[in-house]
Amino acid sequence: MKDRARIAWMFLLPMLFLMALVAGWPLARSIWFSFTETNINDMSASTYAGFSNYCGEFGLFCSEGFWQSDWWTSIKNTFLFSFVSVILETLAGLGVAMLLNQDFKGRALVRTAVLVPWAIPTIVSAKMWGWMLHDQFGLINQLLVDWGLITQKIAFTADPAYALWTVVAVDVWKTTPFMALLILAGLQTLPKDCYEAARVDGVHPLRVFWKVTLPLVKYPLLVAVVFRMLDALRVFDLIFVLTSNSSSTISMSGFVRREMVDNGNLGFGSAASTSLTLIIFLTAVVFMRAARVKLNEESS
């Protein structure tokens, strides 16, 4: 038995080493940076700054201007985006999954086709939608004008009143297939006998959905939502490419990028990125508690 354990560790060792190298070290380094004052211009000239990046006169959280700060705006934007887009994607994904779970001619083809938006790299789809939504030569504005729905072309990606909702719409378009796929996988494991029993008893299809399908598919559904939630909270590329990147639509990841990359403040930026990780972690914990997803029980 001891031998077995030792051999297992030996097999794991290369992977653990790689993980430490590509995940552990950068993570540790970025956490370390968050306690320093470092500029990208000369990283060797970094000075220890304690918690001042988190909670100091100019820190992230307990400064006077917190409620007016871009950091707070970015937290608000990110949660608003995640909340709305995940709800819409879950509903749409459930619908698509239910449809694809039916037997019909050409199902394999449709299943593949549905995945296309998910398979396109985000940067490409964001750029593509950016052009379609363009206020001057965009297809969508042109169609809306031609159909007489609007008289003035709308600046979907520039007008702050529309920008965040445009991002949500494109994200829903892109990520619904992912949700549909996860939910469909769940649907396919459902026992057939429940449905046969329901059919023999002549239960109304809607009732079957509420009383049989939904309770049975609940756990896969919640897992999918957690996955999507974690992903949505670190949204960056869609907002970066599609909108004008002003602080009114900035996300938490966008804020981190701005501080680290544009402004070269590695210390402050690392503090923001570490906070982002903690915020996502806490959200996941709270959500799973609230939804009572017991992943361990689920798998056993």
Partner: protein, 418 residues
């Protein structure tokens, strides 16, 4: 047989390796940059036995600088000759080669102000390549049609744009009066500095490093610009960079455009719908105390990365590309403004770009962004400024509140010193 070929190839490679170098040059990403930079650099490479590769930097100056700083932090030798913006020397001074050794005094034939801008701590960090200033492009044919003259103040511009827009919309429903750059990026800082300065509102941070932006004229300038959005400028302008505004303009869908000189030659190209209909003027003045015409100083320099593996060859290429000969070719073909005063008397250049002679004052008196005063913190200062401006333009805040908030933000960026 195969071994023989490999051996021969190795031998040839080894021999050539003694002098031949591969030089990568970064010089912009629009079509004209490829035509008027890549071509000349390749010719130089062929003549000197070097291989020259083009590197396309991000189109947005903000992203371009950010990527460059990451490459420098990693001491990357990927790019040898780098085109740098007029506001960058203070930010990336630690990573560039002093070109004095290679220039042999030739920099004294360039505009002294640009050479001074590129000299940090006595080191010449970039050779001036082309200079830029914001210009007002207008449609000669439309101004004539409506009996108007090129505007002298922003109010005149707004009135003229409105008149033309109202008239043209009868036949072309998405015709716009005025397009400019108002996406939240460095370009907006340039546009907004012109508005603020033309209203006598200063330069955000003055030469001594004092934050001067919180003044009523600056607020008035931003409020004026905000009043254009939705009246003479499309709402989408809030997401426009240079090329987006040029797209609308060159399709004949705008009466006025604020842009850099490069838009001239592209607009005059054979396939341009508005060829021969373009006029160029200095940007209008504001109103009130201290009002004057103002154009933001732009322009690009060629610098050599300290981490280049072939500094000598790279410096030689930079010197060649900034020489009077190449600057003339670039001016004639691509309307890149030369940085050598004597070229402004050159007949070929003036024939291709009449505005260069007429607007020489605009180029020599352009207002600089506060990059020297704020040094390493310039990117943050600029970002705070364009963010505040974007808030006013998108009508989330009025000018007075925005400049007050901006002053507080800049104090926070400054902390103890720039």
């Amino acid at each position: 047989m195969n071994k023989l070929v490999i051996a021969a190839a190795l031998a040839a490679g080894g021999m050539a390796g003694a002098q031949a170098a591969t030089i990568t040059i970064s010089c912009g990403s629009n079509a004209a940059d490829v035509e008027y930079c890549g071509k000349f650099a390749e010719e130089w490479g062929k003549a000197n036995g070097h291989t020259v590769k083009m590197y396309s930097p991000p189109a947005s100056t903000t992203d371009n600088l950010a990527l460059l700083r990451q490459q420098f932090a990693a001491k990357s030798s990927d790019v040898d000759v780098i085109m740098i913006d007029v506001v960058w020397p203070g930010v990336i001074k630690d990573h560039l080669v002093d070109l004095k050794k290679y220039s042999k005094g030739v920099e004294s034939t360039h505009f002294p102000a640009i050479v001074a801008n590129n000299t940090v701590d006595g080191k010449l960090l970039g050779m001036p390549w082309f200079t830029d200033a914001g210009l007002l492009f207008y449609r000669k044919d439309l101004l004539e049609k409506y009996g108007l003259k090129a505007p002298n103040t922003w109010d005149e511009l707004a009135a003229a744009a409105k008149k033309i827009q109202d008239g043209e919309r009868a036949s072309s429903p998405d015709f716009q009066g005025f397009v400019f750059q108002a996406k939240a990026y460095e370009g907006l800082t340039c546009d907004a500095l012109e508005w603020v300065h033309s209203y006598g509102g200063g330069e955000i941070v003055d030469k001594a490093g004092n934050i001067t932006i919180n003044n009523p004229q600056a607020a008035k300038a931003l409020d004026t610009a905000a009043s254009w959005i939705g009246t003479i400028a499309p709402g989408g302008v809030l997401n426009y960079g240079e090329e987006d505004s040029r797209g609308v303009w060159q399709n004949g869908k705008a009466a006025f455009m604020r842009n850099w000189p490069y838009a001239w030659s592209l607009g005059q190209a054979a396939d341009s719908p508005i060829k021969g209909k373009i006029g160029v003027a200095a940007l209008p003045a504001g109103t009130g105390p201290g009002a004057k015409k103002a154009a933001t100083l732009g322009g690009w320099q060629l610098a050599v990365s300290k981490y280049s593996k072939n500094v000598d060859a790279a410096a030689a290429l930079a010197m060649y590309m900034t020489s009077a000969e190449i600057q003339k070719k670039r001016a004639v073909g691509g309307s890149y403004n030369p940085t050598i005063p004597s070229l402004y008397k050159d007949a070929d250049i003036l024939k291709a770009n009449p505005f260069m002679g007429e607007l020489l004052d605009v180029f020599t008196n352009a207002v600089a962004r506060p990059a020297t005063a704020t040094g390493l913190k310039y990117p943050e200062v600029s970002q705070a400024f364009w963010d505040a401006t974007h808030e006013v333009l998108s009508k989330k805040m009025n000018g007075a509140d925005a400049v007050k908030k901006l002053e507080a933000k800049l104090k926070q960026v400054k902390r103890n010193k720039w």
